[in-house]
Amino acid sequence: MTVPYVEALQEFEPVIGLETHVELGTASKMFCGCDTTFGAAPNTHTCPVCLGLPGALPVVNEAAIASTIRIGLALHCDIATWCRFARKNYFYPDMPKNFQTSQYDEPLCTDGYLDVEVDGETVRIPIERVHLEEDTGKSLHVGGSTGRIHGATHSLVDYNRAGIPLVEIVTKPVTGTKAKPAEVAKAYVTELRDVLRGLGVSDVRMEQGSLRCDVNVSLNKPGAEWGTRSETKNVNSLRSVERAVRSEVERQAARLRAGERIVQETRHFHEDTGLSTSGRSKEEATDYRYFPEPDLVPVAPDAAWVASLKAALPEAPSSRRRRLIEQLALSTLDAEAMTNAGVLDLVLATVDAGAPAAEARNWWLGHLAQSANSRGSEPSELPITPVQVARVVELVADGSLTAGLARQVVDGVLAGEGEPDDVVESRGLAVVSDEGALTTAVDEAIAANSDAADKIRAGKVQAVGALVGAVMKATRGQADASVVRRLLLERLGVRE
């Protein structure tokens, strides 16, 4: 049983919290020199250190420390002047040492915030901490029907991911989101992703797991103490962040209304249903036996170094957005429409890549928004970049593509056929500008539509549309319609 979202939030106040894991895009792993490239053959990016072989020792990757501090600075955090790594002890086969080197009570960055916009209102999300840890390997469960551990006959482990630097960004409990906890959660993760992308510290691809999110939700009666929270894991797209909060609000409201208690537990989100199922309960949780990592010396970032990292931070996405909206003279309404559709940054990036603002806007609010919608994803998650969109706009502008061809090129890029120019080449989509070739098609169209031709000769110029259509059809849309029209009129001896 669930209570509809809107109704639930009239009765209860939500408190949300988000833990976001970001895989850093450093060239080498957190504690060894192994390559971090995604998608290599299993266990090829490993060494004694990231396999946790007896005797091997970790050494901190300075680039990962720098990235973490830059994230902290971008989130207005205090940067520790001295902190230590800690061991989080628990047994799991994808963790080579059976402890994770992480940070516990001495995180690198603390006490910051991130402002996000929801329906034109700014909401300040308080940040508790940003810390650095190592990622685990991946288990592959074989022999079952589902690929899950349940029913599998055996498991294989790939340690390529083990030891990749992972930054955990934890919010403080976020109160006061009133009727919009799900919308705020999604706006936060979206904004955070844009900040991280702007910093260039990660490729922030949720579908590849380089950005992962855990969502905490609790409900309480207005004025009452906070309720018991649940933690939903495995939330792997922006849309799912919103859906996970929404479904948890609906589930908890129903339980509370029925007088049942909320169990403090970990829940697993399922992308297919948009619902979560109960995982392990916190009451049987592991005691991680944290203690300072004795194999590593403390990290003591030099104040001058931190200052230089701060001075070199890129402009925040929110301020860049405001500035560009002004520069491009977008109307507030237009900007809001783009924000709501989740395309504002994409439009701005497309403009940055050289496209006129109007073209960029039309693509992202039009064809690309529809494509995203039909895939059930966000425009930002489409496999096309603003640079590629700008290239398509350029090809249209210089007459190489017609509007119709341009859509086909974009579809080709979305289908993974490569760069726009590759798609033009492989699909043979260039505009036919050879007038000789077009003249043949024009003559054939006139011959096949003699009635229409006669009407035109008789001065009924508007009838030319049918002939243009016939030529376009014959050339599979590759001709420039205005050229076809001019040629048709010339052949028919009509002057406008």
Binding site: P48, P54, G55, N89, P294
Partner: protein
């Protein structure tokens, strides 16, 4: 003809360099001696004759030169050597051949040191008698019915019995120094961070330190110089030049030095014979021109309990990786049992009783709700012990004490009394908690068995140990075991 196994490392290297003998002859002589006596001693877990002779051949071919080129060495089985079985004295790693060399091994190989094989030890270096080895105890060359010390009893017995002039040990709470003391050899725990831990299978990361074992102070210094120095693969390795240990061992002059006798490292728990030899050693040092003062280190009384919280805590985490998934023993993987059960069975069968005792102790000490009372408190004691040392070194250049409270005890005597076994490390543990260097060297016999003198120095002042040790050794050469048990 000279018995090549009786030479010191310095003499051996000189003889090879002068072409009086060859590295191959030296290696073969030691391999022959191991074949002859190790059946009675059990100092070695694995003898790598092929590897040893290959290194010797390269030295003889002039491919490698240096002060220790061609000199044989026994390697404690806690240090990984590529392709050579490394068990750490445990069933859980039986059959594992490491795919990489420890930094110490890389440096030994580069120096042309001939690694004869891997020596026996208490499982995971947890013990003071080598009786906790899963492969059976090592016997003391002075009396086969007695322990050779631990955890590095294999290394000290190999050196004392002329199976090898040099050995590498590791010292977490005394595992180089106590075996040196009870076998009448020289053993040095360098400053923590002085020798790379990369490739040393961890027992307690903040305490473990590899170091040299030898029959003379100068030999130990030469080996120290080869293995020490900054290693970027070990974050805790100190980025500073190696202290001038060889120069100090040659200098061997202590006139004008102040030597502090630690009041707390005597009395209850120390055998009268040991105390007597120690008192005579202090007189000898005075005779050599040193000024002797008494110093007090009041927090040393808490060193043993603090150690038995810190070391097991770190061990409980360090030993978690032995789970059967990636290497070593796997028990019960019959296709029916689940992962957790296979891990449990493997660890139940693969670890010995002492290792399990310490894992449980450490797991408990780190548990939520107990951390502050145990691990946290022990770290505070550690700071106080460091302060004791700092204050003592304001009054004296080095500190001295007996290295072990007793001479070698009979095999089996303390097996059923872990606390009595733990007390073997009363005098050695403080230096591990502090991080400073310490040496044990022979200072005579009590009841016909060796007694060790411990010298302790400030961190990164390792050369002071060698300066004092060499001077003392010149006045009082090490006793030689009668080896009357040899066939």
């Amino acid at each position: 003809m000279t018995d090549l196994t009786r030479l010191t490392a310095v003499q051996t290297a000189a003889a090879i360099a002068a072409r009086d003998t060859t590295a191959t002859e030296v290696a073969q002589a030691h391999l022959d001696r191991i074949a002859k006596v190790d059946g009675q001693l059990h100092a070695f877990l694995h003898v790598d004759a092929e590897g040893a002779l290959e290194t010797a051949r390269r030295v003889d071919a002039g491919e490698i030169t240096g002060p220790l080129a061609g000199v044989p060495l026994a390697l404690k089985d806690v240090i990984v050597q590529k392709g050579v079985p490394t068990t750490v004295g445990s069933r859980i790693l039986e059959g594992w051949r490491p795919p990489y060399d420890a930094t110490v091994v890389e440096r030994l190989k580069a120096a042309g040191v001939v690694i004869l094989g891997k020596t026996n030890m208490d499982e995971f270096a947890m013990g003071s008698s080598t009786e906790h080895s899963a492969y059976g105890p090592t016997h003391n060359p002075w009396d086969l019915d007695r322990i050779p010390g631990g955890s590095g009893g294999g290394s000290s017995a190999a050196v004392a019995s002329f199976e090898s002039p040099l050995a590498i040990g590791t010292d977490t709470g005394g595992s180089i120094r106590q075996p040196a003391a009870v076998t009448g050899t020289v053993g040095v725990k360098p400053t923590y961070g002085g020798v790379s831990r990369y490739g040393l299978v961890a027992f307690s990361s903040s305490l473990d330190q590899a170091g040299p074992c030898a029959r003379t102070v100068l030999d130990a210094a030469l080996l120290h110089e080869v293995i020490a120095g900054h290693d970027p693969r070990d974050s805790t390795s100190i980025p500073a030049p190696v202290p001038p240990v060889v120069e100090a061992a040659r200098q061997a002059d202590i006139s004008g030095m102040t030597i502090g006798v630690v009041k707390e490292l005597s009395g209850e728990g120390y055998q009268p014979g040991v105390e007597q030899r120690f008192a005579e050693a202090v007189e000898t040092l005075t005779g050599l021109g040193a000024k002797v003062v008494e110093v007090s280190c009041p927090h040393f009384a808490y060193a043993l309990p603090a150690y038995y919280l810190i070391a097991p805590s770190e061990a409980s985490s360090n030993l978690a990786r032995f789970d059967s998934v990636r290497y070593g023993l796997r028990v019960g993987d019959d296709g029916e049992r689940g992962l957790e059960e296979v891990m449990s069975l493997t660890r139940a069968q693969g670890f010995g009783a002492e290792v399990k005792r310490r894992i449980i102790l450490g797991t408990y000490a780190l548990s939520s709700g107990y951390y502050d009372a145990y691990y946290g408190q022990a770290q505070k004691v550690r700071s106080l012990i460091t302060r004791d040392f700092t204050e003592a070194f304001a009054m004296a250049d080095v500190l001295v004490s007996p290295a072990a409270p007793t001479v070698a005890f009979p095999l089996g005597e303390k097996l059923s009394d872990p606390l009595a076994m733990y007390r073997q490390d009363l005098a050695t543990i403080p230096s591990n908690l502090y991080g400073g260097p310490a040496m044990s060297l022979p200072c005579g016999l009590a009841d016909g068995l060796p007694v060790g003198l411990q010298i302790m120095a400030p961190t990164m002042r390792d050369e002071l140990l060698y300066r004092v040790g060499a001077a003392f050794e010149a006045a009082m050469p090490a006793p030689v075991p009668p080896l009357d048990w040899e066939a």
